[in-house]
Subunit: 201 residues, 2 copies
DNA sequence: CGGATACCTATCCAGAAGGATATATGACTA
DNA sequence: TAGTCATATATCCTTCTGGATAGGTATCCG
């Protein structure tokens, strides 16, 4: 499945691309402006999904969104935003976005949302809607797991972490495994990137 | 060798500690304020070296430096700063710092400086002095190495990088090895941290 | 009490990462 | 032209990672 992720925030862009592409089925193309995204769509045909940042250069209110929606027709455009009010969210939906997501939501949920939308089985949860529906909360780590993650994010090896926390390497490996599961990653490098970009620590 | 690194910038503190402690001979203790540093020195005796950030809480001009120099006597105190003028540098030296280093200098050089100072074989190069003496420049990566590092920093495995850049995994591994050598690290996690904190990309 | 959680340890295994060496080609240049 | 540099590939070997499974203890709570 081909996804176009349009965001000018380099770090998030790269890390999200890396994260999503762990799934071999997903291909993520990147754009950092509305115009760049439009060029990509024009040249390479509509994507299976466009993930569009609300705070991207060229957005111009919701005009940029409408232009991309038009180019994508009838394929879906997902708007993602850091700070969204009820008003802008509904306006975006009226402008053709199939859903408005918050950057505070967890990566797993974002991925689920993306796949759901592509598969056509999606109920749009957007920030500002009733309660916390579909919203934020990052994966909860136990205190120990948090310590271990902190060590991982300092570049320590399992052996070093074991010494640092006075544990067996076996124990450390077990914690690492659990952390990976919660973050939905499969390498310590990705764990670092995810925990930094969603600042879990 | 016991080193006290006093800096309130968490990221740099942790990554530098991790980096230096790769060398098994070095033990790095941390403090985030001048007072915390003084307490550590008082309780645990003078360190082989104190690495002191100029922009640390409690510094109060150069008073904090003088207090730490006094506590450390006769062991060395190294001042490290992001933005230093000729004036503050010489003032710091007069206040008892054995040298003033710039945060723009490379990690390797910093480590060399630290070890040199402890071994007593150090000629203080401080920012603002003639030309670029002892100063900044980060390790120079070849274009290819830069590409590979970028991939590493996206959390990709060697195999994924090979696919991405259309290379053999063997070639990627070779590039990775070279990058590690230039950054003076020995794992991709550390490479990420170093290249991010010294934003090499 | 019984169950749920967090925590610690152990062993096995496949595969990835890291380190060392060797070889080869094109490009730039002293 | 000879030398250097970046690039690319290969092989060998060791260590570390990541994943699976299977135990064990302590604590908290209904």
């Amino acid at each position: 499945m081909r996804i176009l992720f349009a965001d000018d925030h380099d770090l998030l862009r790269d890390v999200l691309k890396a994260y999503l592409e762990v799934d071999e089925e997903l291909t993520v193309e990147l754009a950092s402006t509305v115009d760049e995204a439009l060029v990509k769509i024009a040249h390479e045909g509509p994507f299976d999904l466009v993930l569009l940042d609300y705070q991207i250069p060229g957005m111009d209110g919701l005009l940029g969104l409408r232009r991309i929606v038009a180019a994508q027709e009838p394929r879906p455009v997902l708007l993602i935003t850091g700070v969204a009010t009820e008003g802008t969210a509904t306006a975006a939906l009226r402008s053709g976005a199939v859903a408005v997501l918050s950057k505070t939501m967890s990566v797993e949920k974002l991925k689920i949302a993306i796949v759901s939308v592509i598969n056509g089985s999606f109920v749009p949860p957007y920030p500002g809607s009733a309660g916390q529906a579909g919203g934020a909360h990052a994966p909860t780590l136990t205190p120990r797991q948090e310590q271990v993650l902190r060590c991982i994010c300092s570049g320590l090896s399992n052996k070093q972490i074991a010494r640092e926390l006075k544990l067996t390497e076996a124990t450390v490996k077990m914690h690492v495994k659990m952390i990976f599961a919660k973050l939905s990653v499969n390498s310590r490098t990705q764990a670092i990137l995810i925990s930094k970009s969603f600042n879990l620590l």
